[in-house]
């Protein structure tokens, strides 16, 4: 990141090599289209190049930060809406870095394990919100469940993931 802040193109290439697979995987999972996923990949890394100071290493890992930005941008793309969260404002707590393939694979296994323990309605609400960008009211309409129940399921699902990685 230090190299990036001084405009080092080589540093950009290194960061791309470390994180492009997670960024592309997230974009492709949301969009289901390789061309659109490439566009989001390009946009996310160009944002990092133009504004490396937006990432604060003290508040999270770069891989997690990029994954969250990518998912949000891909959802904006999918739903044809303008981004509302500036990358400067996107602060997240420390989470796994996701840079190495082995680390990613272990963490992915853990995530799948936690998702597997959730009741189907909760898992489904969380996936609709995360991968399809559906609002709580859209999920409530689709599932016929009360709004409050949908919101609580999503929140408790996220917290269950957190606890699995804290323990």
């Amino acid at each position: 990141m230090t190299g990036l802040k001084s405009g080092d193109q080589g540093a950009m290439a290194q960061l791309y090599d470390r994180y492009s697979s997670i960024v592309y995987a997230v974009a492709l999972r949301v969009l289901g289209d390789t061309g659109a996923a490439e566009d989001v990949l390009q946009e996310v890394f160009l944002q990092l190049w133009r504004k490396p100071s937006a990432f604060d290493a003290a508040r999270g890992s770069l891989g997690s930060w990029l994954a969250v930005i990518t998912r949000n941008r891909a959802i904006d793309f999918l739903r044809k809406r303008r981004p509302e969260t500036d990358i400067d404002d996107l602060v997240l707590s420390v989470a796994p870095d996701l840079a190495g393939d082995a680390e990613r694979a272990r963490a992915a296994e853990k995530v799948r394990g936690v998702m597997g323990t959730m009741v189907p309605a909760q898992r489904s609400a969380l996936e609709m919100a995360y991968w399809e960008g559906m609002s709580h009211s859209e999920i409530a309409d689709k599932t016929g469940e009360p709004l409050g129940t949908v919101k609580t399921r999503i929140r408790s699902g996220l917290i269950a993931l957190r606890k699995a990685f804290q323990g």
């Binding site: 405009g7 193109q9 950009m12 290439a13 791309y16 090599d17 492009s20 697979s21 997670i22 592309y24 995987a25 997230v26 492709l28 390789t34 490439e38 990949l41 390009q42 890394f45 160009l46 190049w49 133009r50 999270g60 997690s64 994954a67 969250v68 990518t70 998912r71 949000n72 959802i75 904006d76 509302e84 969260t85 500036d86 404002d89 997240l92 707590s93 420390v94 989470a95 796994p96 996701l98 990613r104 992915a108 853990k110 995530v111 998702m115 919100a129 995360y130 960008g133 559906m134 609002s135 709580h136 409050g148 919101k151 609580t152 999503i154 929140r155 996220l158 993931l161 957190r162 990685f165």
Partner: protein, 257 residues
């Protein structure tokens, strides 16, 4: 139920970037005053990053890497030219949007620096550093805001210069910079008034202005309500004291680019 508990479920939706409009504004307002909920939001965003882990798939094609590095190299070249050119052409390279971003940033930093300098008067070394930064930002913004600056609008050679306005609005800071040129001269005791057209509600006055002899004008950081989402900006002709509601017709109007 505590105030935090009331927001707890909404924070999760916020972390998923799923709150829009009034719901989002309500949470934004709470976050501005609640450190505990800001911390919880950061943690929930960290949780959403974990969900990203379950995405698996092929690596991006090699051409994507080259496409990115080509784009980075192009931007680096433009930046290099900017650093070695005269100041005038440097602005030319940047264009309206980037220029205004610098202006908005400079003004907001100026406001923050002013407050900082007042409260930290005893810390002379830091204040001195802030002053140097402020002076540099003022120097950078001067060609835009100084009334003596030469302003040139390039248009198609087959088109007569048309009135043009550019509004740069940073909702999160309620900061607005408006620049106009080729504005027609005003009748006596009349002025132009800029309006922020919100997504919901009535137009909000965003400054009264009169163009100079060259037809140029600017409005910088008028008093605006906090964090209003703008749908469009418009200009009307009003009495020079300004109006609280626009008088038809709307002379100029534009939505976001």
């Amino acid at each position: 139920m505590s105030e935090h508990e009331q927001f707890a479920d909404d924070l999760a939706m916020y972390a998923l970037d799923a709150l829009r409009g009034a719901d989002r504004a309500r949470v934004d307002a709470h976050l501005a005053t609640c450190a505990a909920c800001r911390l919880e939001l950061e943690q929930l965003r960290g949780d959403t990053a974990l969900l990203a882990l379950s995405a698996a798939g092929p690596r991006p094609p090699q051409r994507a890497r080259q496409r990115l590095l080509d784009a980075v190299a192009r931007e680096a070249r433009v930046a290099g030219v900017a650093q070695t050119s005269t100041r005038a052409s440097w602005w030319g390279w940047l264009g309206w949007a980037a220029t205004a971003a610098v202006v908005v940033f400079a003004l907001s930093l100026w406001r923050e620096n002013t407050a900082l300098q007042q409260s930290l008067a005893s810390m002379s070394s830091r204040a001195g550093e802030s002053s140097r930064e402020l002076e540099e930002l003022r120097r950078v913004a001067a060609p835009i805001l100084d009334p003596e600056a030469q302003r040139v609008t390039l248009v198609s050679t087959k088109t007569a210069p048309q009135p043009q306005g550019k509004a740069f609005y940073l909702r999160s800071r309620s900061s607005l910079v408006f620049l106009a040129n080729n504005m027609p001269a005003l009748p006596p005791r009349k002025a132009y008034e800029l309006w922020l057209i919100p997504v919901n509600g009535a137009p909000i006055p965003a400054g009264v202005f009169k163009p100079d002899a060259h037809g140029s004008a600017s409005v910088v950081n008028p008093l605006l309500p906090a964090a209003v989402e703008a749908k469009a900006f418009a200009i009307t002709l009003e009495n020079e004291t300004g109006a609280t509601a626009p008088t038809m017709p709307i002379l100029m109007m534009g939505a976001g680019e």
